[in-house]
Symmetry: C2
Subunit: 332 residues, 2 copies
DNA sequence: TTGAAAGCGCTAACAA
DNA sequence: TTGTTAGCGCTTTCAA
């Protein structure tokens, strides 16, 4: 910047004014400074600028995802990035891999880099430690599920309503024996989806006590095993509602192994690539991770600007029931 | 930091020394400073630190991907992130969406934030403008394909050998009529894959002039259309080699529509989720985007440390032929 | 409309 | 082993 000032024959401050497009500089001087800057290929240093600036903003936010490589996280990331870019904000994204130690380490690394805000898909564990960030004026927004031990806004799928719609569809087709296969029940999302399932049954006057319900399924293989046992058992259901991506894939494997994929109806929570190309295409309650990301950034920016801390709003992003052939199978 | 110094009763510089774990501070003082820092929950400001530091490193690199949401990009991102984290480096990732205007804008945004290096999956267009970054001492590494107009290292799949292996496998099964469906031929990767195809045929003494070859396929629908025309035509091949992800999916659709998926062999370049769950499972030449990402970061860090500019090495990351049922179909 | 001086939080270079 | 002074590149505050 000094060089630019020298070349344009003005003071440092004037160059600063021109670079930041402040008013009150004569057009002639502006042109001269712009020329000099272009000639020297001058790039302002945002870090230095933010150091002195009164608002101290770095124009960078941190994003903690479960794993940037997984489909849901990647789509959420794309949403955050899209909304951020429109506002000239850059995104530092990292993967927690579900490890809360790692989560803390990453938060620290982001904190050292003075991010203006944090979007976090919380790991199992407690997020109370983030209070320190809030205290420093760095707002936090949770995505996918609310964090624990911290009062901060969250942006999540409407799990309850989504699951309910899916199960209602099966009921409409005439199914009365609808198995539920769910994930780790300590996770809030799993609870809500289960809630949607029971609510739909209750509304239809179908006792959930008669249903096959297995929760706390932790892997795709476990899901395949559980589904297999259910299909081979005495009370084989006419339909299955699976509350999570990985579980759905396990169920697909189990159904196919037994050649039952065209007999037993299946609706899964959360869409996945090529679900439509499987045989039969798998019906799902699709989330909108991209919208979650966009919305989260928006909420974060609002919090940054109004510096309203600790407002615990929960924003529900709607889901969409996508009917594919597996969801059109009627009970025999 | 001033507060910490005051609380510990030492000078600023001593606190700095302790924070940076420099040698030559008495253990007693170290303890005192650490205590004070913990008590005040002091977080050093990396930006301020880097401003004064002689090497001027921000500990942040930029990553430009086609789209953080697509499978290949996301896996490469995970690789970069993994390797970066081990070195305490943060990653600013953005999506170019294949738009070279956008690419330039993103580079600028990263440049303002003083990233220490840049990993770029180049858009169609020219990357000569990145010479300015190199001139500033910011190294550039290309991934997925080499950039144009700039002498910089690249880390890419071994497209030639990968395609060759895939086609060789079909030849081994006895196929002599193997159609080639390829992407935009201006792209370097597409050229190399086509080269692998012709090389395999040539080595087996099969004239490529007799083969059905369609290049410049730009979308999944176009691929389905082209594949359909080929399958319905007079010279129906006994096998298809598709040179790209999207094209493979189009071919799958076309085959299935005609009920030919168990008669015509198919091998695609680039793996995709659930390829094994399709019927039949689709054989592929799998890339290793994660390894590409890890390697790219490693090369970048080397360049950052040795400040060796303009060395144009091309690192080839091996591919793996994954045989699934579609790749075991013999000619009738 | 423009500029001079001070200082953001930190580290380099030197001195004690 | 510890501290002092200057200054990184920029913006603020105040004066001209």
């Amino acid at each position: 910047m000094r060089d630019v000032a020298a070349l344009a024959g003005v003071s440092l401050k004037t160059v600063s004014r021109v670079i930041n497009r402040e008013s009150g500089v004569s057009p002639e001087v502006v042109a001269r400074v712009d020329d000099a800057a272009a000639q020297l290929d001058y790039r302002p240093d945002m870090n230095a600028s933010n150091l002195r600036r009164s608002d101290g903003r770095t124009g960078t936010v941190g994003l903690l995802l479960e794993d940037v490589a997984n489909e849901f996280s990647a789509a959420a990331h794309a949403g955050v990035e899209y909304a951020a870019r429109q506002r000239g904000i850059a995104v530092l994204a990292s993967s927690t891999l579900g490890d809360s130690e790692r989560e803390r380490g990453l938060v620290r690394a982001l904190s050292l880099r003075r991010v203006d805000g944090l979007i976090v898909a919380p790991c199992p564990g407690d997020q109370g430690y983030l209070a320190a960030e809030l205290a420093q004026g760095v707002p936090v927004v949770f995505i996918d599920r609310p964090g624990r031990g911290l009062s901060a806004p969250s942006v999540v799928s409407d799990n309850m309503v989504g699951a309910r719609r899916g199960v209602e569809h099966l009921l409409t087709l005439g199914h009365r024996s609808i198995a539920f296969l769910g994930g780790i029940s300590a996770v809030a999302t799993a609870q809500e989806r289960f809630g949607g399932y029971t609510a739909a049954l209750a509304a239809a006057g179908v006792p959930s006590a008669d249903q096959t319900i297995v929760r706390d399924i932790g892997s795709i293989d476990m899901a395949a095993g559980v589904a297999g046992a259910i299909l081979d058992g005495p009370d084989r259901p006419t339909a299955i509602f699976s509350a999570q991506n990985q579980i759905t894939m396990g169920v697909v494997r189990a159904l196919r192994k037994r050649g039952l994929q065209h007999q037993i109806a299946l609706i899964g929570f959360d869409d996945f690539t090529l679900a439509d190309l499987l045989d039969p295409g798998v019906a799902v309650v699709a989330q909108d991770p991209r919208a979650i990301g966009e919305r989260a950034l928006q909420v974060l920016v609002d919090a940054m600007e109004e510096s309203v801390d600790g407002a615990t709003s929960e924003i529900l992003v709607p889901t969409t029931l996508i009917i594919r052939p597996s969801g059109e199978i009627r009970p025999e």
